[in-house]
Symmetry: C2
Subunit: 247 residues, 2 copies
C-alpha cells in the first residue's frame, strides 16, 4: 500500500473565534452566512482549507476573506470532527482563536465571499448560531479564560493607551467575576510591565485617570530570563482550594 487512494478522505475547514472588547463587553466576530447550509444564519467566520496551504495559513486567509481582518495572529484550539456536524457530509474543522483590539481593524466584506455581513456581537447575546459553532465558541472562550491568567493577553484587546480601570473591567469581563480595585492594581503594577505614560484621560465627566501602556519589550525580556506571567490565585477553605479569583 503505497498511496493514499484507498483511504477515506474528508473535507476540512477552519473556524475562527475572534474576541474583541468594546463598551465593557467581551465580543466575538460573527458573519451572516450567504450560502447553504444555514443560509442567513450567524456563524463563526470559517471556510474550507485548500490543498496547498497549512492549517495556520488557511485560518489567516479565511479570516481575511470573510471579514477583511488582515494578518491576525491565530492560535489553534481544538478540532471538531463529529460525523454529523455538517448537514452535507463529513467535514472536520479546526478551531482557531485570537484577541484583537476592535478599533485597530476595519470590517470589510470581500465581494464573492460567503459572508453577507460581519459584526461584533457581545458574547452574552450570541445564541442560535450555525453548525456546532456554539460548542466551538465555548471551547475557545474556556481557553481564553485559562490563558489570560498566565499570559498578558488582555493587552491585545485594549487600545495602546489604557487606564487601570479599563484593564480591570476587561479582566472582569473575561473571568466573569468582580475584582478588588486595590488588590488588582497592586498586583498588576508589581509586575513592572506597565509604562506610566504620564498622560491623563480626556473628555470624561469625572476625575481623569492616568494612562498606561503595556511594555512588550520588557515582557519579552522577562520571558527570556525565565520569569512567568501569573495572575492566578486561589483561596483555601477547610483545607481545600477553591477556584482562583484574582481578588
Amino acid at each position: 500500500m503505497v498511496s493514499l487512494d484507498n483511504f477515506f478522505k474528508s473535507a476540512f475547514t477552519v473556524d475562527n473565534v475572534i474576541f474583541g472588547f468594546d463598551e465593557g463587553d467581551l465580543k466575538v466576530l460573527l458573519i451572516k452566512r450567504g450560502e447553504q447550509p444555514f443560509l442567513g444564519k450567524w456563524a463563526l467566520p470559517g471556510y474550507f482549507v485548500y490543498p496547498n496551504e497549512d492549517l495556520d495559513g488557511a485560518a489567516v486567509r479565511v479570516l481575511e476573506e470573510l471579514t477583511g481582518l488582515k494578518n491576525v495572529y491565530l492560535e489553534q484550539v481544538e478540532t471538531f470532527g463529529d460525523v454529523n456536524r455538517h448537514p452535507f457530509g463529513r467535514v472536520i474543522t479546526v478551531a482557531y482563536y485570537s484577541l484583537i483590539n476592535t478599533k485597530d481593524y476595519i470590517l470589510k466584506l470581500k465581494a464573492g465571499s460567503i459572508a453577507q455581513q460581519a459584526e461584533w456581537v457581545a458574547l452574552k447575546d450570541v445564541n442560535d448560531i450555525a453548525f456546532d459553532h456554539a460548542a466551538i465558541l465555548a471551547s475557545c472562550f474556556q481557553r481564553l479564560q485559562r490563558r489570560v491568567r498566565h499570559r498578558p493577553l488582555g493587552f491585545e484587546l485594549l487600545p495602546k493607551k489604557f487606564t487601570l480601570t479599563q484593564l480591570q473591567q476587561l479582566y472582569e469581563a473575561i473571568l466573569q467575576t468582580e475584582l478588588d480595585k486595590r488588590n488588582f492594581r497592586k498586583k498588576i503594577l508589581s509586575m513592572n510591565l506597565l509604562i506610566d505614560l504620564k498622560e491623563m484621560q480626556e473628555g470624561v465627566a469625572h476625575r481623569p485617570a492616568k494612562l498606561y501602556q503595556f511594555d512588550r519589550a520588557k515582557y519579552e525580556q522577562f520571558l527570556a530570563e525565565g520569569y512567568i506571567f501569573d495572575l492566578s490565585e486561589s483561596k483555601k477553605k477547610n483545607g481545600k482550594k477553591v477556584n482562583g479569583v484574582l481578588h
Copy 2:
C-alpha cells in the same frame, strides 16, 4: 452550492501519545511500522479515521488495533496538518494523549495491523521517529507538564497502591525538576486526597514505606463542590515570578 463535491478533501488520521511510568522513567508507547512510508521505523500508534466514526472514537479504536490497549481514555491535544507532513500526500492528523499504568495493560499486536512491534520507550531514548511525530510528542508532553499541576493525573500512571516517594519521583520525571521531600509530602497530604492504607511496602532492602491510594471518590466530590486541584507554585525574585517548581 449545496454539496461538498467541489471542495478539496484530505485523508486524515489520529495519532496517540500514551505515557507510562516505569522504573523511574517516563515512557511513551511506540510501534514499529510494518508498512510504507517509514517501514521499519518507530512511530506513534496512529492510523486513518473511518467515514462513520467520530475522532475520539477513532483514536480509541486505532490504539487498540495497533497495541491491544482497550478502552483507554484519550484527550485531544493538537492537530497537525502541514502540507508536506506525509510523503504520500496531504494527511491531516489529530493528536491524542493519555496516561496509563503500564502494568494494567498488555501489549498485544493484532494480526494484519501495520504494527510489527509495540514497545514502551523511555522519553529520553526516543529519537528519529517517523513523520512529524517528534513534534506531536513534544506537544503532548508539554500538555502533560501543564496539566499535571492542575489535575490529579499522576495517579493514572502509578499502581493502585503506591508510596509517597514513588509519587514524588513521578512528579519529578514529568516536571523534570527535583522536589523537596518534606514540602512535597506536606502539600500532597494537605489535599486530603490520599488514603493511608495502613499497609507497608514489602521486599525492599530498607525501611519500608507506607502505601497510599488515590481517593477518586473524594476528588470528584471536591470537584463538584468547586474546589480545585492545584500543585503549582512560583517563586518571586526581584519582584518577578519565576517558574513554579513545586518545592
